[in-house]
């Protein structure tokens, strides 16, 4: 059974990120001849010295004209063991927003550094964002090892420096791989040029890294998405609460409580289009029937009476601001979408802005502009049912929407209830 692994890549063109992705795609036969031919023709007509694999992902006219990547691009490849989705994010300073977006769904983040230059500001920033977004696995690829004579000392020094930086972050699983994307060393196969390296190739790591335990299988959380009530006589009494399991494991017979009403019931059946199931876990989409009739609608949360999320209107969170047109400021009112629940939120307090390069907290700030990250206190119009983002990425995340333009302007990671 092939599993799905989503990973985000970060790094600039100079780090060889496009070359690395190109190699993974090419070696796994995910690049097609007509795509490669188109890229070769474009490279030649632009006078590039080598086939610019970035053109495979940079498909928008503006990107080709300006030679930049302006957005997250999603690429796909598969091996017999796993199917992979790459969220390829541009490395420029101004694109923190894209890295945050790409990391939000990633199981693994791949940060590239150039062996000749070692850690630069951007590598630290990428590692920090991956940890802020709680990407469970971080891989630091030290690229261009061929240009430093495959020297173990260079690799070891970069690892040591990065480890010391990462100790300030929330990183659970950190892997270092010395590679040469151009020549393919340690990308798909183990390199013969670096016998001192005892680890596996990058692809082997991507195929084998253990991701099953990354999900929260402890705290049962079921945000009700849609109520299924057939209007046909054959299913007259059917009332199913449809949604995606956001945490934990639910089984028929489980005692449950419904928020915000507080009514309790038991699970009568967990249905899918392929029939009832004995257990449901993330990220399954199911329909739950309860043994008693209670009034439940979209935005409600089904969970266990003994294990409930925080319930409240005052929430502290780290927010990444994503709008060029406006800034986040104390007193701002925004729409908020959290699980299947929508409400309005008032920015009560902006505590500090975080310098993503130094991790330094700047306390005397009044706004968060595009690509800035800070800690805020929000007050919402209705209670939300939430967990610490570190405990559950589904029930701990929200987006902020500008009510005038309807644009998505902020991404939030919940820290907990506001402490008074």
């Amino acid at each position: 059974m092939a599993e799905l692994l989503r990973f985000a890549t970060a790094g600039s063109v100079d780090d060889g990120k496009s070359t690395l992705i190109g190699r993974l795609l090419y070696d796994s036969k995910a690049i097609f001849e007509d795509q490669l031919a188109a890229v070769e023709a474009t490279s030649a007509s632009r006078g590039d010295e080598y086939t610019n694999l970035a053109l495979l992902t940079d498909g928008l006219r503006a990107e080709r004209e300006q030679g930049i990547t302006i957005d997250v691009a999603y690429r796909y490849f598969a091996t017999p063991r796993r199917k992979f989705i790459i969220a390829d994010t541009p490395g420029h300073i101004q694109y923190t927003r894209n890295m945050v977006t790409g990391c939000s769904t990633a199981d693994l983040a791949l940060v590239l550094v150039d062996a000749r230059h070692g850690l630069v500001e951007q590598s630290r920033r990428h590692a920090f964002l991956a940890s802020l977004l709680r990407v469970p696995h971080l891989v630091l690829c030290v690229n261009k090892m061929d240009l430093v004579d495959y020297d173990q000392k260079v690799f070891d020094e970069i690892c040591t420096e990065f480890r010391s930086f990462a100790s300030k972050l929330d990183v659970n699983d950190l892997t270092f791989i010395p590679i040469s994307a151009l020549d393919g060393d340690n990308v798909v196969n183990r390199s013969e040029n670096m016998p001192w390296y005892e680890g596996t190739s990058l692809l082997h790591h991507l195929e084998n890294v253990f991701i099953a335990s990354d999900r929260n299988l402890i705290d049962a959380r079921f945000p009700v998405q849609y109520v299924l009530r057939p209007m046909q006589s054959a299913h007259h009494d059917y009332r199913g609460y449809a949604g995606t399991i956001a945490g934990g494991v639910l089984k028929p017979g489980d005692d449950v409580i419904v928020l915000p009403s507080g009514f309790t019931s038991t699970i009568a059946s967990i249905d899918t289009a392929d029939g009832p199931v004995d257990e449901a876990f993330p990220p399954m989409s199911v329909s739950i029937r309860l043994s008693s009739e209670i009034d439940i609608s979209r935005g409600d949360m089904i969970c266990r009476p003994t294990n409930q999320p925080d319930i409240g209107q005052d929430i502290d969170a780290m927010v990444c601001w994503m709008s060029e047109a406006s800034a986040l400021a104390t007193g701002a009112k925004l729409a908020i979408k959290h699980t299947t629940r929508s409400a309005r939120a008032l920015v009560k307090n902006l505590h500090y802005r975080l310098d993503v390069n130094t991790l330094h907290r700047e306390n005397d700030v009044t706004t968060l502009a595009l690509n800035e990250i800070g800690r805020v206190s929000l007050r919402t119009t209705v209670p939300l049912f939430f967990d610490d983002y570190r405990r559950n990425r589904e029930t701990g995340s929200f987006i902020l929407i500008d009510e005038a333009t309807n644009a998505t302007v902020g991404a939030g990671m919940i820290l907990g209830p506001t402490q008074s």
């Binding site: 097609f32 080709r64 957005d71 989705i85 999900r215 059917y238 995340s397």
Partner: protein, 301 residues
């Protein structure tokens, strides 16, 4: 129990989540349906998302009038089986009403005309969300498209000004007259689609499997001899064993030589193929390097 899902089960769960999210947040969604394999999978997933309820939205075929008869037959049977309501938006009607002008010459196609017909129908029926079967692996302009893709009051897509999309939190907010295109198959690849068709035993129009057909060579593709294309001088009809990898307007969709007659043979072929399905079979994407982006900006699927 190891609580693991296969990649197909994960993709299916994500698609069902998207269908339900749109049904919950929009007043008048519609499912775009052509009888092509992606839309067939879309209808299958939509039915699964709302079972045992019937489909809470109609399906709409933007009909160029240049159809493969096998596909129309399939469409009508599938829609009836699904118990769905079919809306037909006709390009011929748009031509008759003078909304668009038919292209002329041997390379005339109604592909581009579909955009006007589609946008007119969305306006006429006041649809606020349209499900499309677009996949990000299909084409580079699509690689950056959101799952919820915002369209302004002219139906335009602005690739440089897209809403960030994080976690599984989709922003469907829009004003009256604007709409959202929703793409539940965003993360599927051609191979995933075929593996799913096999796993779920989904029936497809017969033209997806190898059959004998009169075809002629143009621009490196095999086009079907038929009432919708005028053969040019020097083009010669031959009978070959072919199948279709995509189904679009009969005037610009090419067949590929293939002996794959069953779904498993097709999967083997797709897994080994080295050319994208659009590259192999769609004249409409070949016009310029950014042909898809340009059409999408205007409001194409």
């Amino acid at each position: 129990m190891d609580y693991e899902l296969s990649h197909l089960a994960t993709l299916e769960a994500e698609s069902i989540h998207i269908f339900r999210e749109v049904a919950a947040e929009f007043e008048r969604p519609v499912l775009l349906y052509s009888g092509g394999k992606d839309s067939v999978v879309m209808l299958h997933l939509a039915l699964k998302a709302f079972m045992p309820c019937s489909l809470p939205f109609p399906v709409m075929h933007v009909d160029t009038g240049h159809n493969f008869p096998e596909v129309i037959e399939y469409r009508d049977a599938a829609v009836e089986r699904a118990g769905a309501r079919l809306v037909i938006a006709s390009v011929e009607e748009s031509i008759r009403l003078g909304r668009v002008v038919e292209e002329t010459g041997p390379r005339a196609s109604r592909n581009r005309l579909q955009t006007t017909t589609l946008l007119d129908a969305i306006e006429e029926h006041r649809f606020d969300a349209a499900f499309g079967g677009g996949r990000r692996d299909e084409e580079k302009a699509r690689a950056k498209e959101r799952v919820f893709s915002f369209r302004d009051e002219f139906g335009q897509w602005d690739p440089k000004n897209q809403r960030p999309e994080l976690w599984s939190l989709y922003n469907g907010r829009h004003k009256q007259g604007e709409h959202i295109r929703a793409f539940p198959l965003s993360n599927w690849t051609e191979l995933d689609i075929w593996q799913y068709i096999a796993a779920e035993k989904i029936e497809l129009p017969t033209i997806y499997y190898a059959h004998r057909r009169q075809v002629f060579r143009r621009d490196g593709m095999w086009l079907a001899v038929g009432p919708y294309v005028t053969m040019m001088e020097g083009e010669e009809a031959v009978e070959l064993t072919v199948r279709y990898r995509t189904v679009g307007d009969a005037s610009c969709t090419g067949a590929v030589e293939s002996t794959a007659a069953t779904v498993h043979e097709v999967i083997e072929e797709v897994a080994a193929t080295r050319i994208t399905e659009r590259g192999a079979t769609r004249a409409d994407d070949r016009a310029t390097e950014a042909a898809m982006e340009d059409r999408k900006k205007e409001g194409y699927f």
